[in-house]
Amino acid sequence: MSFLDYFLGSRKKTAHVAKDRLKLILAHERDADGPDFLPALQEELLAVIAKYIPVDKENIKVSMERRGDYEVLELNILFPDQH
């Protein structure tokens, strides 16, 4: 940091930059990861639902997401058109 910068305070503290960047990337990577059982859960749900209603594999989406202090398991099933 140069003598002038010191008085002008023109440079943002780099530790803050590091923290902000890490906050974003860690949140992103934790979401992308999800627990290991998700693919298996998706397979098994598909098997159960397919017993009653014909559904495509692509139409079942299972995801896990962190909201504050708790995690939300989200299950989306798109049923085929009845027409």
């Binding site: 503290k13 530790a15 803050h16 590091a18 923290k19 906050k23 990577e29 934790r30 290991d36």
Partner: protein, 269 residues
């Protein structure tokens, strides 16, 4: 029954082996029968840091492959009565470390010792997974620096998903964060992540802070675990870490810049 502790980090060069040597020595100094195992197959280094490199005859891989008995491979530490080192092999064969073999060695050690400290290799490949698999507790060694924090987060995820405890649905591995190479002066100047920052980012309880110090190099030069470096910040900080691990209350030390007086600055000392 022994408690198994893995010293891990994801990133290399953050102080896993230094910490393994110091922490295992600290447990032994407190009277616990302790063994420290090098899991870094092909890149053996714990023996150098412990100062027992010339006494290695058999290693972990010899034991796993039935070429030696466990007792023959264990090296008694020259400084601590209750401490043994189990070195790894310099083989380039990555598959030498089998999970059945490691399990058998752990089962045998468990009956003999109070604590088994596993020094993990860097990365997230089979050696690292093998080192953390049996862990009851984990010490995640992290530097206040972006790549180390990110890799530690990754390793925390792997501990929660791939350990034996996770696989068998037992109580999860107890995780501890250990900040190393911490420079209070640079933190104060806003050019280094603070311990609060790292704690908040990794959401893991802090076991201790080891200050950046030239003593670490002096210790490794001589093959002396850093906890034996008398009158040094680093040795004191590692002793605090061991005490906290054993459940004692110890306030954090060496986390504020040392105020140097005018005369001391002028004349040195």
């Amino acid at each position: 029954m022994a408690k198994i502790i893995v010293i891990t980090s994801g990133k290399g060069g953050v102080g896993k082996t230094t910490t393994s040597a110091a922490f295992a020595s600290g447990l032994a100094l407190r009277g616990y029968r302790t063994v420290v195992i090098d899991f870094d197959v092909g890149l053996r280094n714990l023996d150098l840091i412990m100062g027992c490199e010339r006494r290695v005859v058999y290693d972990l891989i010899n034991v796993i492959q039935g070429e030696a008995k466990l007792q023959q491979a264990l090296i008694k530490d020259k400084r601590c009565e209750n401490l043994y080192v189990l070195p790894t092999s310099q083989t380039r064969d990555k598959d030498a470390l089998t999970s059945e073999g490691v399990t058998a060695v752990m089962d045998e050690l468990r009956t003999e010792f109070d604590y088994i400290v596993c020094d993990s290799p860097a990365g997230i490949e089979s050696g690292a997974l093998m080192a953390l698999y049996h862990a009851d507790e984990a010490i995640v060694v992290t530097n206040p620096e972006v790549s180390s924090v990110r890799d530690s987060d990754r390793i925390l995820g792997i501990l929660a998903a791939r350990s034996r405890r996770a696989e068998q649905g037992e109580e999860p591995v107890k995780e501890h964060l250990l900040l190393t190479r911490y420079s209070p002066k640079r933190v104060e100047g806003g050019e280094m992540l603070s311990l609060q920052d790292v704690k908040e980012l990794l959401r893991t309880p802090l076991l201790g802070v080891i200050p950046e110090s030239e003593v670490i190099l002096q210790a490794s030069n001589q093959g002396i675990p850093a906890i034996h470096m008398e009158n040094s910040d680093v040795a004191e900080a590692y002793k605090d870490v061991v005490a906290r691990f054993l459940g004692e209350e110890r306030p954090l030390r060496f986390i504020h810049p040392v105020k140097v007086g005018f005369f001391k600055r002028l004349f040195g000392g």
